[in-house]
Symmetry: C2
Subunit: 239 residues, 2 copies
Amino acid sequence: MASIDVCYSPELLHLYDLEGKAVVAVDILRATSTMVTAFAHGARDIFPVMDLEECRAFSQKGCLTAAERNGIKADGFDFGNSPFSYMNGAVESQSIAITTTNGTRAIRLSEAAEEVVVGSFLNLRTVASHLKELQIDVVVVCAGWKGQFNLEDTLFAGALVECLEKSFAFENDATLASLHLYQAAKSDVFSFLKQSSHVRRLENLGIHEDIQFCLQHNLYEVLPVWRHDRLVDLAAVKN
Amino acid sequence: MASIDVCYSPELLHLYDLEGKAVVAVDILRATSTMVTAFAHGARDIFPVMDLEECRAFSQKGCLTAAERNGIKADGFDFGNSPFSYMNGAVESQSIAITTTNGTRAIRLSEAAEEVVVGSFLNLRTVASHLKELQIDVVVVCAGWKGQFNLEDTLFAGALVECLEKSFAFENDATLASLHLYQAAKSDVFSFLKQSSHVRRLENLGIHEDIQFCLQHNLYEVLPVWRHDRLVDLAAVKN
């Protein structure tokens, strides 16, 4: 039986051997939720990049560009990191280069894995189904906040473990803790997160609606996976 | 109001600024529980050291030596890492040099702090009282298992947060998660930990009794703190 592990921070990723495994990269607030939303609204592909300069350069190649640092949109880019910006038809059939404080880093640092999937509550069920089909060991890589543990990514990990607990073995304590925390939180995830530092930080930035949006389960049947140098929506490719 | 944070692994310690703060170093199974037990049975001082050779050299200075690697006693040392070995009078008024897989590392990496305290369930209340008196910011440094998150150290962190929640502010998500997990576990910590990988690893080594011993709350009024180059029991010094 394949196993599922959880890594709480990109800073701990060197402790995990990703070879032959599937990584689910997660940054609930908001990078991976936003990427899933962009694909749900027709984006063709997404280039997650590590720094602002590299991201800006993608505009020369006909890409839309998106950048967030410390929770706010960086100057000189088409989009920030709010999922609502990607809903008005602007990303239909477009390529997007995106860089964020935590999420894009988690994705790029996971490239050694056999498969890298972008996860969020919005596409939880689709991600779980894909992993059940793959039947290889899974590591959920939480983006965290500047390397530190965060609750919302951990709750997503717990939700995914709950979906997979009958078909995957548990390997580590982080997996158990994530499941316990999700089971304590799931009746009202938003209330559970209210005390969280990152959620308070984002609430202070006035993006209450973004948070509520990103905590919705199974809104989209979207499956962003890493292929060569970019993310594509495997669900759209299959259809 | 001073704050309390939790660091889940020595590998994340570079993200925390320890200057002017109190660190509580914890390795429930078993290094810090064992050190507390040794002080409760009269040990004069303890030298936590990082490697086996350095530890062995302390025998030339008239110290007892203790070493554990991967859960078992290393060859050629007086003691391993079982608290029961320190109870028969052998450590009375003795100096002990000790090296373990995770716990001694957590202590030594925290030396930049204003105060380093050794915590365990066995001396939980004594540690909490000391921190209330100090009234400086606290970081609980979990030893983890080879850099990875572990449940038993996290539960201790949660127990300490519960003791301090009225007199300290919470700063990060790891603190909240630790408290939630402890509150879910506290009616029966042993059962809660049964699924844990590290506990299963130790159970396989036949040290069931060690585990049950280390989960007892407030058995000893012992307060090991770092002074210059060693740990001393501040509670014994005060009395």
